[in-house]
Amino acid sequence: MSATLAMASAAKERWQTAGRFADVLEAAVKARRSPLIARVVTWFNLCRLCQDLEEQLLLDPAPNPEELQLHRALLSLAIGSGEGLLLECGDPHLLEPLGISAEAVEAKIDSLRITFTQWHTDIDPERQQAVLQEAFGAAV
């Protein structure tokens, strides 16, 4: 096997492993038999996994469509499961043992949504330039 093919195969395996790990984390986030704070910690780990994959995409000069699709799927998963946790965070003191409030979960979901929009939605280049001009004028 050539070095290039071996690298591609290793990268594919890494992504597949990440996908399987994300499935395990998501199942743990949804496991209501576990305490909410444990599930919130697991959810933050799921978010961290999404972020690691995004960093790999950023540093890869030509990410392949499968990797982008997995990134999109994991982001959707993290946003959805975070929303689910938020519904259970009615009591403002529930997350106090972690030193956070539900607002931290909400802020992380917002951050994931921004990432989703920037990576996985279409944009019209003309509109993009017009908005940049409107907001920043001659600076762009």
């Binding site: 972020q51 540093l59 030193g99 931290a104 802020a107 940049l132 600076a139 762009v140």
Partner: protein, 71 residues
């Protein structure tokens, strides 16, 4: 704040939000919102619309941050 500095401040604030520890997230989000609101004041743009059009610049910014951290 000059407009070019404001743009840089938005990219920095988004990066800080993405990489924040859980207990810092609400403050980081508030800082990003403040910068975005400054940029869209007097326009009909939304925060998300502005962030959406900054996608390419943000990716460049983040790539540079990651490479600098790896050195």
């Amino acid at each position: 704040m000059p407009r070019c500095e404001l743009l840089e401040a938005i990219l920095q604030a988004q990066y800080e939000l993405e990489t924040a520890e859980p207990h810092d997230l609400p403050d980081c989000r508030a800082r990003l919102h403040a910068r975005l609101d400054q940029a869209i004041a007097g326009t009909h743009l939304t925060r998300m619309e502005l962030l959406s059009v900054l996608r390419d610049r943000y990716k460049e910014f983040k790539r540079a941050q990651l490479l600098a951290e790896a050195r």
